[in-house]
């Protein structure tokens, strides 16, 4: 198993956000994690990447069988975990080029950058400063492609971007999968997820992974929404089996 999350409970300050979550990602596999806003998806992603403010109080994170729960973020990155941020920060004075040079270890990336819409000139801009939503996502995807990670976690790469950018992101994911990268795609829309035909879908709700299943699960989510879970009017199984 490439990435294995075992019974992970995560707290931020004194609040438990993720409760007893387990999921797996194998090589060359696309796995989707869905759930409404505020269900704990981003917290789980940050915890997997090792954000110091997101404290694992129970459970563990295994990468290629090794327990990495206590490692700092840069060591997780070096082992091959990459996180595409939902909202990457604006960093003044740090040029895009500097970060790309660091990530690519001075391989030439100008063609790839150009393909994702970054001209040589635009690489001299400050990181994400004044970038549109689409530009931010594309820059994240560019870094992901240059990193060639073993596992990529994409946190809502499809939110707030136009259809062309969604297509670029989907193509990038497919390219990585071809090279055996495992993908954990976090989203609350089914559009991009459908397009990628994932092998497994997890649904997160109020910090718990409440169900997992095949692509059919998405059809049901599209039909019922997350609402039925929210209202507690029916258990998932009943709702989905109706």
């Amino acid at each position: 198993m490439l990435l294995k999350i075992e019974n992970l409970t995560v707290k931020v300050q004194d609040k438990l956000i993720v409760k007893d979550a387990s999921l797996n990602v194998s090589r060359g596999e696309i796995v989707v994690l869905m759930g409404p806003n505020g269900s704990g998806k981003t917290t789980l992603a940050y915890a997997i990447m090792g954000h110091p403010r997101y404290q694992v109080v129970k459970g563990r994170i295994l990468f290629k069988g090794e327990d990495i729960t206590a490692l700092p973020p840069h060591e997780r990155a070096k082992k091959g975990i990459f996180l595409v941020f939902q909202n990457p920060p604006e960093i003044y004075g740090v040029k895009v080029k500097y970060l790309l040079d660091f990530i690519s270890v001075n391989r030439d990336y100008s063609d790839l950058a150009e393909k994702l819409g970054f001209s040589a000139e635009s690489l001299h801009r400050d990181l994400n400063v004044g970038f549109s939503g689409g530009e931010r996502k594309r820059l994240e995807v560019l870094q992901m492609l240059l990193t060639k990670p073993a596992v990529a976690i994409l946190d809502e790469p499809d939110s707030g971007v136009d259809i062309d950018s969604v297509k670029i992101i989907a193509d990038a994911i497919r390219e990585l999968v071809k090279e055996d990268t495992g993908i954990l795609l976090i989203t609350h829309y089914t559009k991009l997820a459908r397009y990628l035909s994932p092998s497994r879908v997890y649904v997160m709700f109020k910090g718990r992974i409440v169900t997992e299943g095949s692509i059919d699960l998405m059809n049901k989510i599209d039909r019922c929404g997350y609402q039925c879970i929210d209202l507690g009017k029916c258990s998932l199984e009943r709702c989905f089996n109706e």
């Binding site: 110091p52 700092p72 997780r76 990155a77 920060p89 740090v94 990193t147």
Partner: protein, 412 residues
């Protein structure tokens, strides 16, 4: 001493005023009597390689020798030891001793903008100044590459007191790039250079100063600038390695209509250094405008003060202060003292300032890309100080960025 009579008389006058003069208002207290006012004179060399090794190393740390420029003058203690200049026609760059003999009109520029009797330190400078550089850019001449000078304090306990005068005649343009430093083995010395800049009608002067000091030094750069109608003054003050104590408060008088200044500083506080750096601009000409930008990072137990002052005395003036500090050291201290004064109702002065720490989310982001904590913080600090905005020669920019990054990583 072979110098004009008026100067000798002025020195005597300064001496007679010292006792009753106030101490400097800002910065750590120092006892001027502890420093030697004379040192042995260094003979001129024809090649940089002929300078003592320690002086050469100090010079190299400023990176000035790497810059594509119109040459450099090197001053060790009170002596001008090296001069290699390939200047455009009629541009004058010479040692102050020579200039005082050749240019009698220097009398009116000597303490022509900087007030000699401001305090004990300025009078001390006036009484004992030695050396310095005189730069004059003739009318309608644009010098397209920097003119450089480097001041090196090489004797312990010595007070280096160069007096520099820069005159940019009407519609001229130049970039003056200055390095101030000392070999690492120098102990308890003082550098208190005084620079007076005259930006005449329509002229533009950029004055960049890079300071890299060993720890056991006291530094008090003094600077006064006068900008005439439509003139523009840009200052870049970069303190990369602070000494034990440093105080600077360069002041630009915008006397001409539509004159302007942009004064930027990058300040790094390390160890137990006591650093007090300000900039001030007096908007005296109608429609004059000033922008003061300051970035400081306080590491270790350093104490850093950022001061800014804009004083509007004329109609339709505009001023903007952008002052930001980053506190990194557990025991460091950072203070900012902005001051805006308007003596005219048609003034518009704005001030923005902030003190903060390294943003956790930015740090996490960079670490998630594989930078370790030291590298990531170094990069964030470099980005915060952002020497890139100063539009310096690339060789200097690269060197500054490198030094900031290394300093930040080592300081953690």
């Amino acid at each position: 001493m072979n110098e004009p009579k008026w100067l000798t008389e002025l020195r005597h006058k300064a001496l007679s005023l010292i006792e009753k003069a106030p101490s400097p208002k800002y910065g750590a207290k120092i006892n001027l009597l502890e420093f030697n006012k004379s040192s042995h004179l260094y003979s001129k060399v024809s090649r940089i390689e002929d300078l003592p090794n320690s002086v050469q190393e100090a010079l190299e740390r400023t990176a000035l020798t790497k810059v594509d420029s119109y040459g450099i003058t090197v001053h060790v203690d009170a002596s001008t030891v090296y001069k290699l200049l390939r200047l455009p026609r009629k541009v004058t760059v010479m040692s102050m001793e020579d200039a005082l003999l050749d240019y009698p009109e220097l009398k009116k520029y000597w303490f022509g903008v900087f007030p000699m009797a401001l305090n004990k330190l300025t009078l001390f400078h006036a009484a004992y100044s030695r050396g310095g550089v005189f730069i004059r850019i003739p009318e309608n001449t644009k010098v397209d590459k920097p003119i450089q000078s480097c001041f090196i304090v090489s004797s312990s306990k010595y007070a280096q007191l160069p007096h520099n005068i820069i005159i940019a005649e009407e519609n001229s343009e130049a970039h003056i790039l200055t390095g101030c430093t000392a070999p690492r083995n120098v102990r308890h010395a003082l550098h208190a250079g005084l620079t007076e800049v005259y930006v005449k009608k329509g002229a533009k002067v950029t004055l960049t100063t890079i300071e890299i000091w060993p720890y056991d030094m006291h530094v008090r750069p003094l600077a006064g600038v006068r900008v005439e109608e439509g003139g523009e003054f840009i200052e870049n003050y970069i303190l990369l390695k602070p000494p034990k104590t440093l105080q600077a408060y360069p002041t630009a008088l915008l006397v001409g209509e539509k004159s302007s200044c942009l004064m930027r500083s990058i300040i790094v506080g390390l160890r137990e250094s006591d650093v007090d750096v300000g900039s001030a601009s007096y908007l005296m000409g109608s429609e004059s405008s000033a922008k003061l930008v300051s970035r400081a990072v306080a590491f270790h137990e350093s104490k850093v003060v950022q001061r800014t002052k804009l004083w509007s005395k004329a109609p339709l003036t505009r001023g903007y202060v952008d002052c930001r500090g980053l506190i990194v050291g557990e025991k460091a201290s950072l203070s900012t003292y902005p001051s805006l004064i308007a003596d005219h109702k048609e003034s518009n002065l704005v001030h923005e300032s902030a003190i903060g720490r390294i943003a956790e989310d930015e740090l996490f982001y960079l670490m998630s890309r594989g930078l370790n904590e030291e590298e990531a913080i170094g990069l964030l600090i470099r980005g915060f100080l952002d020497p890139g905005i100063m539009d310096l020669p690339p060789e200097i920019s690269r060197e500054i960025e490198k030094v900031i990054q290394i300093t930040a990583e080592q300081a953690l």
